[in-house]
């Protein structure tokens, strides 16, 4: 974990859970492993608050606990999972993906679970149905069964999974709530890191839940509200048959999907739409059979691909063969051929594709930041590995003076490395080869850190902008509240207009500008996250293939 990651984690924790959790979380990040008492003491926060913070973190799967270094008899120690905290940056993307795959219902299901960390199926279904009903026109409501359908679709495609077994979860509750007696959790089994190791991971429980989403009554109707609350209480105690089975979002599965999307869109822009559809089909076919860290997908034959292609594409068999040959011949090597049986066996080179995408990302950064001629030098070095300065000038056909300037700038930014090879042991410059080179993996790591810093900066700026305009924001909220209550009580239009004019024109303008700024910052955060995702996947794939 680096300083930039810690900073970003802190900002994300503050955004989602508030400043106390940020304090505890960042301290835990910096110190690695700590027990409860040390944590409370070092952050000078009350024991109670620290417990609550840890509760939040454990609930969201961001924190782990286990027997301490002093063995099972010692106090329980806590750890925070930095990677998991950084996933919070990607929440909008998960939700968007669920929306584009499973519509509004899927979107809300994922959103609810992300917001609460883990939920039982029945409560998800109830909340989502209520929320959907809320947005529908009067007299319509959402059937629970539809939400159950969407939920089971998400589980079947492994986007949702069960939380690790209940006994360790039970331990979570006891340790966080009663850590004054650490002995009670002494026999805690460490939480299984892989939820997939659990056999029932994707098994849906039988739930007895039928009915429709309820609409919240207008606030004026106090009596009805009261009655509703009573009924809600009754409902909550109702047995649905899935108590204790909690669900969480399977981030790995989402990431696989993102990765496939990236590969498909790369093929689409390099070759054409049809090729990308073929690759999409290949990826879909091998989705279930290929492990997440594999370098290649499971080989599929051309016959199988032909059968699995969506009929709307209308690709004839000989044309498909031609497309596959083209894909294999392409220097990017997205697709490889492994054999001739069944009309040719084909795989998607996942790691190669990621490496290519990461390389393109690096090139694009150099291109945008230092200009296309520097990018030419950068690509040249990537291609030829080691080159002397003179060779760089000659190959890139850039005048010596400019080439030198660009090369040194790239070197000072650590995008290019310099290797000395002395002919004599004294390292005299006149008798030394100076070879320039680009190391893709370390450069990608550098870029990743830059991305973390950039996102932190954007969040920081966003917080600053909101803080600066706090007064305006509060005022506009207050006035909106007044307007709403006036409208409810049936006030005259003149009265409404009068209240509305309490916000002056310049203020309105400022608010408009603020909204524009925040949107821009938000969308940029998501864009940088796409870069982060690509580079992270590349680094992970490079680590696993070693």
């Amino acid at each position: 974990m680096t300083a930039q990651e810690a900073r970003l984690c802190g900002l994300l924790l503050r955004e989602h859970f508030g400043e106390v959790v940020e304090k505890v979380g960042v301290h835990l990040l910096r110190s690695g492993t700590l027990n409860l008492r040390a944590l409370a003491h070092e952050t000078s926060t009350s024991l109670d608050l620290v417990k609550k913070c840890l509760c939040v973190l454990v609930q969201h799967g961001m924190s782990k606990f286990g027997p301490g270094r002093r063995g099972p008899a010692g106090p329980v120690e806590y750890q925070i999972n930095c990677e998991r905290v950084l996933y919070m940056l990607r929440y909008p993307r998960y939700i968007y993906m669920a929306k584009s795959l499973y519509g509004d219902t899927g979107e809300l299901v994922v959103e609810e679970i992300l917001q609460r960390g883990q939920m039982t199926m029945s409560s998800v279904v109830r909340t989502v149905a209520d929320r959907l009903t809320q947005n529908m026109e009067d007299g319509q409501s959402m059937d629970y069964n539809e939400v159950i359908n969407a939920f089971s679709n998400l589980v079947e495609t492994h986007f949702l999974q069960r939380c690790p077994p209940v006994d360790s979860l039970g331990a979570t509750v006891t340790t966080t709530s009663s850590s004054g007696t650490p002995e009670s959790s002494a026999n805690t089994t460490p939480q299984s890191a892989q939820p997939e190791s659990h056999p029932d991971c994707y098994k849906l429980p039988q739930i007895h839940l039928s009915g429709r989403g309820k609409r919240r009554r207008s606030s004026g109707d106090a009596e009805a509200n009261d009655r509703r609350a009573k009924r809600a209480k009754l409902e909550n105690t109702e047995v649905c048959g899935d108590e204790g089975i909690y669900w969480q979002v399977n981030f790995e599965r989402f990431h696989l999907h993102f990765r496939h999307q990236a590969i498909i869109s790369a093929v689409a822009s390099k070759l054409d739409q049809t090729s990308s559809e073929i690759v999409r089909t290949m990826l879909r076919m091998s989705e279930v059979t290929t492990p997440a860290t594999a370098a290649y997908t499971q080989a599929v034959s051309a016959n199988e691909i032909f059968r699995a292609l969506p009929p709307s594409y209308n690709i004839a068999r000989p044309i498909l063969d031609q497309y596959l040959t083209l894909l294999v011949d392409d220097p990017m090597e997205f697709v490889g051929k492994t054999g001739d049986s069944g009309g040719g066996m084909y795989v998607v080179n996942l790691h190669r594709a990621l490496a290519n995408l990461a390389r393109a990302t690096l090139e694009s950064v150099v291109q945008e930041r230092f200009g296309s001629r520097s990018a030419r030098i950068f690509r040249l070095l990537l291609r030829k590995k080691h080159l002397e300065q003179k060779q760089v000038e000659d190959f890139a056909m850039i005048p010596a003076k400019e080439a030198k300037d660009m090369l040194y700038t790239l070197l000072s930014e650590n995008l290019v490395q310099l290797q000395e090879i002395p002919k004599t042991p004294d390292h005299a410059p006149s008798r030394t080869f100076y070879l320039y080179t680009v190391n893709q993996l370390p450069t990608a790591r550098l870029l990743l850190q830059n991305c973390y810093k950039a996102v932190s900066n954007l969040i920081e700026r966003r917080l600053f902008e909101t803080k600066e305009n706090k007064r305006h924001l509060e005022k506009s909220q207050r006035i909106e509240a007044i307007l709403a209550s006036l409208q409810a009580s049936g006030a005259e239009t003149a009265q409404l207009a009068e209240v509305e004019e309490m916000i002056t024109a310049p203020e309105r303008q400022q608010l408009e500008a603020l909204r524009h700024h925040i949107n821009k910052l938000d969308s940029s955060e998501n864009q940088v996250d796409e870069t982060i995702f690509l580079i992270e996947s590349y680094i992970n794939s490079a680590a696993s293939s070693r």
Partner: protein, 314 residues
Amino acid sequence: MTDVKVKKESTDVVDIENRIKELCQQFPQGITDQVIQNDMPHVEAQQRAMAINRLLSVGQLDLLRNSNGLLYRLKDTQSASKMKGSDNQEKLVYQIIEDAGNKGIWSRDIRYKSNLPLTEINKILKNLESKKLIKAVKSVAASKKKVYMLYNLQPDRSVTGGAWYSDQDFESEFVEVLNQQCFKFLQSKAEAARDSKQSPMVQRNSSFATSYEVWKYICELGISKVDLSMEDIETILNTLIYDGKVEMTIIAAKEGTVGCVDGQMKLYRGVNSIIQPTGLVKTPCGLCPVFDDCHEGGEISPSTCIYMGEWLDF
């Protein structure tokens, strides 16, 4: 008696000299001492040495050194006649420059090889230049460095820099224009192929252009004042590869096909990049020149960043 002997010796010497010259004509690449010895086993070593020395001193023979000892070679009469009226030092310098070939030689290197003082060498060089025996050429590698070579030689590419230099200046604009033109050619070809609505294989194959085709296109465009060779165009096409805009494949071709070199043909085609500009560079931070100095609470900080401010108001 002595008189007779001397006379006999002198005729002998002339005979030996003539024989050596004959030998040299037989072996234009030069002969070793051993060859002369084998040819004239009866001649004493001293006599042989005298004869060779005489020939060397009158400038009819050249003494060369190679891996297996000394070599004698007949000096070509042409240069001998050119050098008429020059002294030994001049001849020496001329010889050094001649040996350097079309790569040329720097005056300091002449000094090392000849062991003559620099002032003397400068005088001789000026002299030779005025006789149009040698010429000075400015090297592109170092603009202040003059190299000397024989007057009638065409300077090597490493000295003049080939087609991309005029007066020792790299014509970067010329290169850029050619770069763009080549790309335009390949791109239009790729587009035509894409619009042809043929089978994908045919589409790909027709988007390729050989380096010969590109060369012909550029020549017909007439944008270049100098004659460009196919290698020149290939270097330009290579820069396009490094720009990530073009791909190259090498295919085997029958010897004698146009644009075929050593049984290979280089095919180029314009390609698209696999990604759009990445997300990071769409933010001001991705391009910020003071990115590393930026810290919250510092002189440069995200809250007070003017770049970010301008970008937000854009």
